[in-house]
Amino acid sequence: MSTDTLERPRVDTTTQAGIVDSDIHPEPGRGAETLKPYIAQRWRDHQDLYGDPHNGPYATTYGFPRYMPGTARRDSWPEDGGLPGSDLHLMRKQHLDRNNVALGILQPLGFGALARNVDFGSALVSAVNEWQIDAFVDQEPRLRGSIVIMQEDTVASVAEIRRRAHDRRYAQVVLSSLISEPLGRRRYWPIFEEAASHGLPIGIHVGGPTGARTAGGWPAYYNEEHLSLVASIQTHLMSLVLEGVCEEFPSLRFMLIEGGIIWSISLKKRLDRLWRTMGSEVPRMKRPPSEYISECFYYSTQPIEEPENPGDLPALFEQVGWDRILYASDYPHWDYDDPKYAFKCEIPDDKMSKIMRTNALGLFRL
């Protein structure tokens, strides 16, 4: 366990240009009730009669109850009684202003995208897409939205992307990692074709109320789940490369959010090794897997990996590629990474500015 205590910030966020945060979680203050004005009467009635559409094991919490209420920082609960992440003033005070955030990408979680009732789910993600603009982006020019889709209904997803793609207030398409199948499966390809045609990156954020956590069964604790989510991200990365998505849609970019970074070094090496001997099994891939991974995938920093020797981080980032890594805070969640203190080692200014700003400006075309 590291016992280093930092006496001063490692990153100066006071530069005039500011930083870009690629993972901020807005929350409807009163949950599903807040979204009701954005859905048709038919679905309001449905919600009143049948309740929340998620098929997790519990009605009011996650399959793996969080050690922290609302998964959130204890100081992020607004005084008005709403949920953490619902109060824009508090978000400004605790994060945007405090850390000189020039741009923040919103990642709304949990509503609709993982419903088994795909029609209700599609209605809810569309509501989330309008609500985040009304409640946050139109109120705060530093924020950008994400087009949430109900990925199990490809036709509805394509329509939702097409409806919003020309609106510059959205920076990406986003989905959760715990979905029905690995993302490279053909059923999801129309989504990729639509996103690619608009130059929109696909964000894959860890989690979801349902979906298998591990290939070896269901773990017992949040401590386990928090780690197992990394494997769900790796599963999608491998599927997207091996099924040929990266070859078919060469301009499409994927942002892997909250799933870790450094593991990609050994994964690339192993996939290349397999490809050299068994590449004929996956002929849709024309080049070594590592080349697709290095071109098509980006990684958000939070929760930043902490080597026992903090000074090991830069050499590992060098192997991943400095242009692949984007700062994220995860505000208002408990494992929030403060941009000033998250990196516990010296990183050269030119590299740091890529992570804190320019990589995101390029990926999201901001």
């Binding site: 050690y67 401590n223 928090h226 780690l227 090496k269 090794r273 929760p303 026992e308 494992d335």
Partner: protein, 105 residues
């Protein structure tokens, strides 16, 4: 392991019977077979990787014979310190499987 240990620092109270970090537990009682080796190629990155393991007792030589991935003696990564290579190929397996000493005696 780094991520697991970091998470545990934050929410280890959920599993209060765990007294040691994942890193410490792995070094103490988890052993890994070598082949196929996903670590860095010979050189400074390999040396640093071995240092990051934090123990010269974790790795055990393996060939995977007769599977197609079999690489013979190439399973041992090039560029390893000879003392470490000997531990991987000889000392570590003997510590993990004490009964095989009876055959060698």
């Amino acid at each position: 392991m780094w991520r697991s240990t970091k998470t545990w620092r934050g929410i280890g109270g959920e599993v209060p019977w765990t007294k040691h970090s994942a890193i410490a537990e792995v070094r103490d009682r988890v052993r890994l077979t070598l082949q196929p080796f996903d670590g860095p190629d010979a050189g400074a990155e390999l040396e640093r990787f071995i240092e990051q393991l934090g123990s010269d007792e974790i790795l055990l030589f393996s060939s995977d014979y007769p599977h197609w991935q079999f690489e013979g003696e190439d399973a041992m990564p090039a560029g390893l310190d000879p003392d470490l290579a000997r531990k991987i190929a000889w000392d570590n397996p003997l510590r993990v499987y004490p009964r095989i000493k009876e055959t060698l005696a």
